[in-house]
Amino acid sequence: MSRSIALVDCNNFYVSCERLFAPHLERRPVIVLSNNDGCAVARSNEAKALGIGMAVPFHEIRHLVQRHGVTVFSSNYALYGDLSDRVMNTLEQLAPRVEIYSIDEAFLDLSMLGDQLDGVCRSMRRCVTQWTGIPVSIGVAPTKTLAKVANRIAKKSPRTGGVLDLTDPALQERALRRLETGDIWGVGSRLKRKLAQCGITSAIQLRDASPQWIRRRFNIVLERTVLELRGIQAMSMDDAPPTRRSITTSRTFGQKVTDLEPLREAVAHFVSRAAEKLRHHRLITGSILVFLSTSRFAKPGALYRNSHTATLLEAVSDTPTLLEHAMRGVEAIYQKGYRFNKAGIILLDLHPEENYQATLFSDLEKRQRSERLMKTVDLLNSRLGRGAIRFGAEGIGDNPVWKTSARRKSPAYTTCWKELPRVIAHDRVGRTPYERDIP
């Protein structure tokens, strides 16, 4: 039987998280800004229609925001992390193999479903939306790269009802004819330009290019993309290109783990790998999510899953800082007595490193020292083999605690008792019940 891989992707995820507790924002333009309210990192469809682009600095769209009454939120990573965890948890209960790809995307192996594929995906979509309140789109195809294509169409074309099965080669062909190379997973603007110089502009041309030639002229990753477009599985999770918004590393353990120490080690290892990937792509991260989970087959009393999201004072890419926050996260959610079989981390709020902005409190000298150290570590690891240089998973001293600028941040609806969503039990209408309740 042929493989069927589904990509489940949350629609405008951060905006959907905000709307869940502010239902009056349905069908209204909403955007979410990056840390320190720098630029728009999530836009509702209505905001996209107003011409608000992705990652556009806020000051450039202020006039649109004012003219059209766009609701603006600062990013609330504790909320997004919690809802992401709920979505992934739901998927894990519904599908046998779930690979978390990013904060709002997961690949599912649905190969055994045969001709029930479409129906199951539709009820899965309904279920995730009902349980978690987050709308998702699902694309299915024989490979991850084609599943991405299917998902993109499912999301953009209302006729699909949010689900598109692209396992049929004739449908793949039709879809790829309408896409550009830049619409394909892992083909960025630079690669798109270089491909165009060779006369390759459409996705179908890329599919039909010789893989050997692509490898010689470009690289092995793009060769894999070509194979995947032909329906041949070539992309493992580790090769997968990072998303624009997050980097994920997680594993299901070979055996159950009950003690804190091995979990700390596992998570520390994930942090090292993810941080390496972060630096390789010249990115910095402003937030890190850690999760731990028991097997979904555990008895009801032995089931446990939790996540913790830390927002950093300033975006970084150095392993020690990330380790420090990750270790705090593990300790916060670890519970004695459970047999854990899965752990992982997600780096959120990614920016190109050249966008780094020093704050009043930044220790630039320390930062430069740390950058030099990371370069050396990555170089040694690439020469001596991965993991040659490791970090003792320990903190690097106390960080003063002050808040990053986040003036439009919504309450921590799901992670703070004082900030629970409010439900009205009176007849006085006209006031919004979800306004932050600050004592």
Partner: protein
């Protein structure tokens, strides 16, 4: 949001979902491979963690059913509302707590002072079903 469509079928329950209502916690079968643990309210109140949210009540309209101003409601979004259940419903863009009523094809929300009928063609958004109320006496 789950627009209520009477024809909508319930989502599939995961294979390993066990409804544990009425199970005597703390007195497990000796055949089962776990030790006795301290009772955990979380497990008692939250059946489906992925779908369960806590909300804070604002107002006195529901005191008749034992829900007071400032109480916390445990809300499970995975439960399909049935007649008589306490629900969180979106009314005029706000999250509100009401009693859900359904007689045949007639749907309405029951509140202390006015019932809100749901007419043909309206979309009623039931946000979730409240399963418990947590009422603190303020002694702490």
């Amino acid at each position: 949001m789950s627009p209520l469509d009477p024809s909508r079928s319930a989502p599939p329950l995961p294979q390993n979902t066990k409804i544990t209502d009425g199970v005597c916690v703390g007195f497990p079968s000796p055949a089962e491979d776990y030790t006795e643990e301290r009772l955990d309210l979380n497990r008692y109140l939250v059946r489906n963690p992925a779908a369960t949210f806590f909300v804070r009540v604002d107002g006195h309209d529901m005191t008749g059913v034992g829900i007071h101003d400032g109480d916390i409601l445990v809300v499970d979004r995975s439960i399909d509302p049935a007649d008589g259940m306490i629900v969180i419903a979106v009314v005029e863009g706000s999250l509100t707590v009401k009693r859900f009523r359904r007689r045949g094809r007639a749907l309405w929300l029951e509140a202390a002072h006015r019932d809100i009928p749901i007419n043909e063609g309206d979309t009623l958004s039931i946000w979730g079903v409240a399963t418990s109320v947590i009422h603190a006496f303020g002694a702490a």
